[in-house]
């Protein structure tokens, strides 16, 4: 019923390391200059673009890292055949069809 999507494990591991390094570098950059970055990012107004751009960039790197990490660990989506959605069960008619007598000559 379900078919596991094929993964290229060595490729996934390589990508995990690569994107993991980018994501870690971003975290190190922020946390090694905490005071300067926090003051700049909380200035408000036009500076609102800074935290928003940062989370977009971090989501790209860390999101790709997370996706490849699960693939490298063998946790991948399965493609299921979705069953058609039935309408809610309709109650059966109370009356049964009457039995007929057939005469064969």
């Amino acid at each position: 019923m379900s078919v596991t999507t094929e993964i290229n494990k060595p490729k996934a591991i390589l990508r995990t390391v690569m994107y993991g390094a980018v994501s870690a570098a971003m975290l190190v950059a922020v946390f090694s200059h905490t005071d300067a970055i926090t003051s700049l990012f909380s200035l408000g107004g036009i500076y609102a673009a800074l935290p928003i751009a940062t989370v977009f960039a971090f989501s790209f790197a860390h999101g790709a890292f997370a996706s490849n990490l699960w693939s490298a660990l063998g946790i991948e989506a399965t493609t299921k055949k979705t069953a058609p959605r039935p309408a809610e069960s309709v109650p059966r008619p109370a009356q049964r069809p009457r039995a007929r007598l057939r005469m064969s000559a």
Binding site: M26, V30, A48, T78, T79
Partner: protein
């Protein structure tokens, strides 16, 4: 206001304990969000506040992590063919109006009864909405699990879909056609709830299932589109006021991006009604948690008299129950994923044995 936020952000001491707590809650919140389309925010904001973060900074930093998390989750589930982009955008448009209505109501209550009145309103909304909707979602999941494996179209949705009230909209992925007028109230209520309890998905997902008639899988995936669009709008507003603490946001995001993808993968392993079971369970536990916070606000409004130590104990139990709700959701998701994976391995082994014979 900006200076205040900056001072507050500098004031917070980030220890390894704090970082670990935020990362773990971010991961579990992400896991639940990736699976049911929402959740996690209700624990993160009070969680950050318990670490000493001011309420406004906690809300802003939480929202700033919510929209990229929803974006990644929506992208992942879009690749699995579960997202109805049009449904998400149509719902988000009316939800945005709902948020504005919700803010107006909050402002009015705040002006009339102060902060305690506003907190009481939020808690009562939590209890009323989550008990009503959560119980029905839970009952429906239990009923549909007994009757059939597939997710049937609810009666109300079938009736509404049959009414030809222009403009009619066809949602391709959800495979349904319904009048725009029936999607608007669902979107408005989603936004209203998002502005009140910060988790619009607790009305949005059941609304899309029972009123619009989309399946649980499509509804929870499309809710991520709504969360992304609304979260982005909210973040712009908070960031312009200088309230986002980027350190808190990045720590939570580091955990939640791992969780949201695992939750999205989980939806491909389990039966569709599992989404309803997880959602219903979380909603009912959270409702009890908020009910425990009500006496504190009633006491602040001088409507009842209560012992201070008893109130603080109830407050602590309330927060613990919220964490428990999230943890139970995560356990059900991971448990059902492990169960489905084991069954798949057994099936594969059986088919390989058959082929060899």
């Amino acid at each position: 206001m900006t200076e205040h936020a900056l001072e507050a952000a500098k004031f917070i001491d980030l220890t390894w304990m704090n970082v670990s707590f935020l990362f773990i809650v971010g991961f579990i919140g992400g896991l639940v969000s990736g699976f049911i389309g929402s959740g996690g925010a209700f624990v993160l904001t009070p969680g950050m506040m318990s670490l000493g973060v001011p309420a406004a900074v906690a809300v802003a930093s939480n929202m700033c992590h919510k929209f990229p998390k929803a974006m990644v989750g929506a992208y992942k589930r879009f690749r699995y063919g579960q997202v109805d982009l049009k449904l998400g955008i149509v719902m988000a448009a009316s939800a945005t109006v709902g948020v504005q209505i919700g803010i107006k109501i909050q402002e009015w209550i705040l002006g009339k009864w102060g902060e305690a009145g506003s907190n009481l309103y939020v808690s009562l909304s939590f209890v009323f909405v989550l008990i009503t909707v959560g119980s029905y979602v839970f009952y429906d999941a239990w009923k549909s699990a007994k009757v059939t494996d597939a997710d049937p179209v609810p009666k109300l949705a079938r009736r509404l879909q049959s009414i030809n009230l222009p403009p009619m909209i066809h949602f391709k992925t959800a495979n349904l056609t319904i009048s725009l007028w029936f999607t608007i109230p669902v979107g408005l209520l989603t936004g209203l709830l998002a502005a009140t309890i910060a988790v619009g998905g607790f009305v949005g997902v059941p609304g899309m299932i029972y009123v619009i008639g989309a399946s649980g899988l499509i509804s929870s995936a499309s809710e991520l589109v709504i969360a992304f669009l609304m979260g982005l709008g909210g973040t712009v507003k908070w960031a312009m006021a200088g309230m986002v603490d980027i350190r808190l946001t990045l720590i939570i995001l580091a955990g939640s991006l791992l969780g949201v993808q695992l939750g999205a993968i989980g939806t491909t392993y389990v039966k569709e009604n599992m989404i309803k079971i997880v959602m219903g369970s979380i909603m009912i536990i959270v409702a009890f948690s908020r009910a425990l916070a009500v006496p504190q606000y009633l006491a602040q409004l001088d409507l009842i008299s209560a012992n201070q130590s008893a109130l603080s104990f109830m407050n602590m139990v309330s927060f613990a129950l919220m964490c428990l709700a999230l943890a139970i959701g995560a356990v059900i998701i991971l448990g059902s994923m492990i169960k489905a994976k084991r069954a798949e391995i057994v099936n594969r082994q059986v088919s390989e044995t058959c082929e060899n014979v």
